[in-house]
Amino acid sequence: MSLIPKRLSVKFFTKDKAGVELESLIGVFQSWIQQQAVEGLLIDVADYSHVFAGPGVLLIGDEGDYSLDVSGGRAGVQYTRKRQQGHSLEGLITTCLRLARQAGAKLEEDLALTFDYSTVQITFFDRLKTPNTPEVVAQLQKVLASFFTEQLGISEAQIDNVTEGPRYAPAFLVTLPQALEATDLQNTGTEAIQQA
């Protein structure tokens, strides 16, 4: 069974202790649509700032969604790939990391937020292909270790299983020795989808 999930989310947490005013994201994401400021077919903005520890404010796209996500009580910039996952899990992870990293950089410009690019949460949403079983979780952890070592050349990546319980989607917290730079995520040769 392929380990490419229906949806893969990558999230870099904010460094800002004061929290984020989610409402300010609405205007920022609307301007991203106007300017086509990030990759992908951008459709609309969804505001869920009223729900507790939820998806925050989303920039809904066709291939994937960008968001300032506050789930788990920790705010962060998130990219969720939901379509056109491509042909390899490594390519999918690269795409998500790259687009989340780019969105983070853009939010740092637009809202003076700061993100910690040395810690990233990666979540696999697919109860069929990546169910939360010990075998699958171990496999995913192995794939991630291999990805950071072989694709990105980071051998000291620490990968912790942070899945909260047996029914939740497998989630991993990857701690890196240094911040991921945008340049680390280009030209890896694994991305299946090259955006226009």
Binding site: L41, G54, I60, D126, L128
Partner: protein, 750 residues
Amino acid sequence: MTEQTWKDVLQDKMPPQLAEEIDIFEGQMELRKQGKLDERVFAEMRLRRGAYGQRYDNGKRHDGIETRHLPFPSGDLTKGPETMWDAPGMLRIKIPFGGLTTEQMEVLAELAEEYSDHILHVTTRQDIQLHYIHIDDTPDIMRRLAAVGITTREACGNSVRNVTACPFAGVCRDQAFDVTPYSKATAEYLLGHDDVQDFGRKFKIAFSGCEDHACGLVKIHDMGFLARVKEIDGEQKRGFTIFVGGGLGTVPHQAKVLYEFVPEEEILPVSQAVARVFARLGEKRNRNRARLKFLVAQLGIEEFRRLVDEERKTLPYDERWTTYLQDVPNYKEAPIRPAAALNGVEKPEGFDAWYASNVYQQRQAGYVTVTINLPLGDLTARQMYQLADIARQYAGDNVRLTVEQNIVLRWISEADLPNLYHDLKAVGLGDAGAGTIVDITSCPGTDTCKLGIASSRGLAGELRRRLGEKNASLPEAVKDLKIKISGCFNSCGQHHIADIGLFGNSRRAGNRKVPHFQVVLGGRWRDNASSYGLAVGAVPAKSVPILVDTIINRYATEREKGESFQDWIRRLGKVAVREMVRPFMNIPPFELDPSFYSDWGDTRVYGIGDIGVGECAGEVVSLFSMEIAKAESVHFEALVALDDGDYVTAENRAYESMLLAARALVRTQYLDVGNEPDDIVKEFRTRFYDTKLFFDPFAKGKFANYLLDRHANPPDEIDEDKAHRLIKEARLFIEATYTCEARVNGVIVN
């Protein structure tokens, strides 16, 4: 190696009929992709499976500067008129009477995570909606729902929508009796019933256990059932007052009493008879006048009643009318905790306010029902998991959705309340104020609805925030007022029956558009929504919060002792009410305050260019078109089976597709043909073969004989050749059916 699919994994867990229906829908999707199914027919098929369009699905969106084309990857492929295949849509999930189990809650949470945006939205009809769904994902979502006993069938489209019921049914202190098993039986009986497939518009049904409260809202429904107990021959007999022809929409109608008392064993046949009259005489062409309320108004209730009486006499007997009644006396919900009083238990901070607004004393001593006040009807997938855990601990499977977009946990032992409150607070579900002025109902509005004119959710969120901040200091008199908001005049937010109702519209200021809300005051939520409010003027969206403050402050200070909001509005009179609103109707110039030219929760300069064609009315497609599409889907399955080398299935499916096509044709003349192959073939022969109506000018009865021969002589053994031949014959038979229908009825399909 072929990868496992949800279809494989869940095959044995889905009810066979639901599984087959979903396969058929998947086949219809494939036919649409191949251009073999008309987009209008597919749109109605899709709607009847709960898959609804969403704003911008025509591939255009105004970004505040210009209207941009959205170049979806599937190009020009559509899933309905001006509805792009790849455009995100909404899936409406029917939850009859709002009843959920904890297992169902968990599956809903999984689906929100994997296919939607991690949000579950509770609607004003006790449904759950998932937004931003791709149509390609819908069959698997439906399978996963079917595996836990949930269907999306007929959640949208011109059919019987979710059957709603009072969420306190069974635990209500004032009820005549528990209406739950009756609402469940009605939902099950009418789901997919032949007599509800040919409506010009949707049809909504509600059940209420008592007259005085609002929970069931029977008077705003196409058909409403109000529980009654009547003494007949010295015996207490259960039954219902049946209302018909109620509805909100642009022009609200109060329902009329069809029958004062209908005994329980008659409610299903009467429903069926009403459905038949509506299907036969209801408007089909003008969707704006196609709801039952217009037919009842046009005919008058006496004539409508006479027609229903006549129809009832002609109904073929169906044992399901009464079989469910055997189980009604045994219908019981089981608490999972022993009843115990709250006495002496330490209460956490905030508990008292929450207890005052969110806790309802059940008729069963020692038990209460707790309402979870959801902001804008939303909760996250994570909260749904957590709520399932909480329910398991305190309530079991006794969970219901409400028409005020909340969730209730029933059968809570009073002694557990402090711990339950603590647990709900921990997951962000412990807000006080359920059913009060801060608990505002709103339809999706411009957030996702194609018809939305103004941002009802944006305004609702703003009002909730402002009123919530000062909730503790609000005068007692105003705390129980209801605010309900619709994004347009169609009333999905039920603004007509609120104390303060608002619906979106727009006004011009110079060369610019300004989002507005029409203010509707004095509607009555209580007494099953017994009266509607009056529109008193439109104010800019940005002025609504301050107007609401003004209204509630004046009511609090000017009301006489015990005077209701409705009575106060009536006493003020229209002129004075209008004068109260007038100062807020002004629009400042753009240069002075550009904020008036954007909507709540949306920073774009406001415009109405994104308003599309709504799908709530469904596509008015002939019954024949709907039924022949089923034959096409099954024929497609025959082709797939042939490719897979499964010749027995291929041959059977080909035969079945001919039966379905014949049935589609027969039902243009005789609705009650049923599903038995013998009956279908007999009627087809009598009506179309013996009369030569089916005959081709050259081939004569040749195509009809494909069905008649196969029906009379099923093959003993099936090989590839036989399967292949019958599939080809079935194709010709289906084509001949189209031709015959067009010739006989003058309807051009596709």
